[in-house]
Symmetry: C2
Subunit: 131 residues, 2 copies
DNA sequence: CTTGACCCTGGAGTGCACTCCACACTTATA
DNA sequence: TATAAGTGTGGAGTGCACTCCAGGGTCAAG
């Protein structure tokens, strides 16, 4: 598929796609059949890759980290131990984020409860939900 | 307390603190006693505010959003309904992030399990953990 | 009263992640 | 064959969140 269709499928602006290509995050095929096609061709797996990038971004990774992560992941494709190591690292980091998020949610919920109950006693303190 | 001590207590660089003050995120007192002190004075509640800012940042809010959120929060201080509304919105947003995070974690865990079990069947697909 | 540590303001610079633009080429349609 | 729509490259610009620096004021110690 061409870039405009890829943009539609992924929901990403064309400029952003080109930006990702320049960064090495996406690698569409070029000129498949004897130089007949001067355009970049995107495969279904590129769609998956794009979605993976967006996911990793919402999880707080920078594009540089995502690139490094994915390359390391590819490099360790034949070494299960290395791959597992990379995955474990990601899991650990996400786990930490989740804990901070849980603490924040508990704090917010307790604040809502406190207000709804007519504000008896002192307000819930951020310090009590260490994040 | 003066800015250098505040920096030590919060762990933030002095420049960042001044940046937050310029943005209106922190409001230390100025010249308390008859213009004798030309320096900004930070109170314990400023420390809490700084920690709140950092927390909100890790949760994905921009400084602009944090400012708006905190001002709206202050504005609704006497209207419990408005405050609860703001809190509910925050909770909703964080809940969404948590769900994406959970999906990612489940995906990563299943990938680890799949590798550890000698890679039987097909690899876990990102698509199956909609995020 | 000088020295050194600390403070303030204003403005410039940095890295990241886009976003926009000018210009040139290719391809489908009228 | 003219024209419009889509594609590629290179480079400039934007917004955010800092980060650094010059120039100048304040204050406590010696």
């Amino acid at each position: 598929m061409l870039i405009s269709e890829f943009a539609k499928v992924t929901g990403l602006p064309v400029d952003t796609i080109r930006f990702y290509i320049a960064k090495g995050l996406l690698k569409p095929d070029r000129s498949l059949k004897g130089g007949s096609n001067p355009y970049q061709l995107f495969k279904p797996e590129d769609v998956t890759a794009a979605r993976m990038i967006r996911l990793q971004q919402t999880l707080g990774y920078t594009l540089g980290e995502i690139l490094a992560l994915n390359e390391e992941y590819r490099a360790g494709e034949h070494s299960s131990e290395r791959t597992i190591e990379v995955l474990q690292l990601q899991i650990e980091r996400l786990q930490q984020r989740k804990e901070a998020l849980d603490a924040a949610l508990t704090f917010l919920h307790s604040k809502v409860d406190w207000i709804k109950s007519g504000k008896p006693g002192s307000a819930p303190r951020l310090e009590d939900y260490q994040c």
